[in-house]
């Protein structure tokens, strides 16, 4: 007769008083799609910053979207793509220095997280400053991680821009 065996790992007891507390380790991989926004992330790897816009001329929103959206929230029309011309120059709207970050952080701390105004955009996207000290109103230039891309939003960042 086949006997069922315990094939797991013995659970570690972390403490016994005032109550029994065990550890339950696990490792998980999520399979995540970028869906209709895939051209944005593909563009970053090619050194291009792509935005979406609503082609409906009667729509009240004529600004560009980064983060992009596949559908216009105002009239529900399917958006179209526009590649911003390099160099993309933006202005720091606000910023923070991330000193303490949660587990799995992929940028070395401390680093500057910045929110950037880009001409023509309806939005103020969040990104990071590769080096330098940010201030509100500072001009910055978009750059891209085309070598060894991360395939994430971290594939574009900003550097100080001086004419």
């Amino acid at each position: 007769m086949v006997q069922t065996k315990f094939i797991g790992q013995v659970t570690k007891v972390r403490q016994s008083e005032p109550a029994t507390v065990i550890e339950w380790p696990r490792s998980i991989t999520h399979i995540h799609t970028y869906g209709m926004l895939s051209p944005f992330f593909q563009g970053l790897k090619e050194g291009k910053l792509r935005a979406t816009f609503c082609p409906n001329k009667n729509c009240p929103e004529n600004g560009l979207w980064i983060p992009p959206r596949a559908h216009c929230p105002d009239c529900h029309t399917e958006m179209k793509w526009k590649t911003l011309r390099n160099p993309v120059i933006g202005t720091i709207h606000t910023f923070t220095q991330v000193v303490y970050a949660g587990i799995g952080i992929e940028l070395s701390t401390p680093y500057w997280q910045i929110d950037v105004e880009i001409p023509g955009l309806a939005t103020i996207p969040k990104s990071y400053l590769l080096y330098g000290d940010p201030h509100i109103g500072m001009k910055v230039k978009a750059e891209f991680r085309t070598k060894n891309p991360t395939n994430t939003v971290l594939d574009y960042y900003w550097v100080p821009y001086e004419k």
Binding site: P18, P60, E61, P67, F95, Y100, G102, I103, K126, V153
Partner: protein, 456 residues
């Protein structure tokens, strides 16, 4: 640009009046191994049924309940899907229907709203609203990551992995636009940690100075650790009912009004719009806001909160919040979110939020004191419980029961603490009639504004 059509702006109206009669809570701790989650909810439930001077036997009161709304922020933390089924069974309420509510940090407020809608519609005469969170199954940095998945996973989470980093940019922009000193934010932290010293439920009481706050370690500049709430474990419960039942159960029910608003998860996507004006505001008040380079709602304010207040004030007949309200419990997850909210709910006009603190209005004994419970910074943010706990604190204040539920040495002992010798009562005067609480999610993705009014 967000624009409205007529139906969008309908003021919510209950089909019948809704009341809150009783509340319960546990203490809150960063690590709470003594109890399983459902045991904590049972403690809050029993506190609600047994200790609120209701005029019926606790089990008879339980026998009036025919619906439950349960708030829980994140399945990640509990590591248990359908947790509400476990809790509901544990409370002995099967097979009555229950629904789980999830709206981030606003979960508690939404849970009360859900229970109120059940009563107002006639589905229930008596509904239980309970909330909980168990954030101690993972270490703090893993918890920070979990919470940061309540930012956009594609465009924001990887840029911070800690929620303070989504509020800190708002703090910098707010300070720049409205010329606000860091000292003002620090005063909020000092106040709320201090008020937590009077609470036997508090997780982070402390007598700090402004210098202590500003010298504490930075989480994300400019926010220091003493300006931030902490991982928290605990549960809270409130009993919501119709008018007839309310007066059967107590001579001191509080009438409930509550509305909600939402706005984009990403601050990036906040497009400019006209300010929805509260009853006491005029367009002239804001004609110079754009000169301060503030684009409404921008990074400086929360449209969801303003919209919830816009609805709730009209629903409850509030004309001027500073004059009409006797207490507010605000969502001070971070000092900056507290500060921003003063403008959203009209305690001060936008751009002048700091004056609410600097004038003394926000303090005990002030014109409209704020977060006498100790708030999220001082007392708790077991997320799903928070909005329920805030409502319960407002209820007890209006019922003149602050001392009963905060000053009894037995309660301190029950939670392994000793009542401080210099314990101070923070009971608002008996003339206090109306209290407001704000339950707030994300960087303002969901917000409820609730108002409790003492019965006359």
């Amino acid at each position: 640009m967000i624009t409205f059509k007529e139906g969008n702006l309908r003021i919510p109206k209950w089909n019948r009046r809704v009341f809150v009669v009783a509340g319960g809570t546990t203490a809150y701790r960063k690590y709470f191994p003594e109890y399983k989650l459902e045991e904590l909810v049972m403690i809050a439930f029993k506190n609600m049924l047994e200790d609120n001077d209701l005029k019926m036997d606790p089990l008879e009161v339980k026998g009036l309940i025919n619906y439950a709304a349960y708030g829980e922020f994140a399945d990640h933390f509990q590591d248990q899907l359908l947790c509400q089924a476990k809790v509901h069974d544990y409370l002995g309420l099967d097979p009555l229907y229950n629904m789980g509510i999830k709206t981030g940090g606003a979960t508690g407020g939404s849970t009360i709203l859900q229970a109120a809608m059940a009563v107002a519609s006639g589905y229930a005469n008596v509904a239980l609203a309970a909330g909980w969170e168990r954030m101690d199954e993972v270490d703090t940095r893993t918890g920070n990551f979990y919470i940061s998945t309540a930012a956009c996973k594609d465009f924001e989470t990887r840029l911070g992995r800690v929620y303070s980093s989504y509020y800190a940019p708002m703090a910098n922009r707010f300070a720049w636009a409205f010329k606000v000193s860091e000292t003002t934010r620090a005063k909020i932290a000092v106040k709320n940690h201090l008020y937590a010293c009077s609470s036997p439920y508090a997780q982070q009481p402390g007598k700090y100075t402004v210098e202590d706050v500003l010298n504490s370690p930075i989480s994300a500049y400019p926010l220091r650790f003493l300006e931030c709430c902490a991982m928290s474990v605990g549960a809270a419960a409130a009993l919501v009912c119709d008018e007839e039942t309310a007066y059967k159960l107590t001579d001191h029910p509080c009438e409930l009004f509550i509305c909600g608003g939402t706005h984009t998860l990403r601050v990036a996507d906040r497009r400019p719009m006209e300010i929805p004006l509260l009853p006491h505001e005029t367009p002239e008040m804001y004609k110079d806001l754009s000169e301060k380079q503030s684009r409404y709602p921008g990074f400086e304010s929360f449209l969801a909160c303003r919209f919830a207040a816009w609805l709730a004030y009209r629903m409850a007949g509030i004309q001027n919040p500073l004059e009409d309200l006797d207490l507010v419990e605000l969502h001070d997850a971070f000092t900056i979110s507290d500060l921003q909210t003063y403008g959203d709910i009209g305690l001060r006009p936008y751009g002048q939020e700091q004056d609410y603190i600097e004038s003394g209005d926000a303090y005990y004994g002030g014109k409209c004191p704020s977060n006498l419970s100790g708030g999220l910074i001082g007392t708790m943010h077991a997320v799903g419980a928070t909005g329920v706990f805030q409502a319960v604190e407002c209820l007890w204040q209006l019922q003149q029961k602050y001392d009963k539920f905060h000053g009894d040495p037995k309660i301190w002992k029950k939670w392994g603490k000793k009542k401080p010798k210099d314990w101070q009562s923070l009971q608002i005067p008996e003339t206090g009639k109306q209290a407001l609480w704000v339950s707030h999610a994300g960087v303002g993705s969901h917000v409820t504004v609730g108002i409790l009014r003492k019965s006359s």
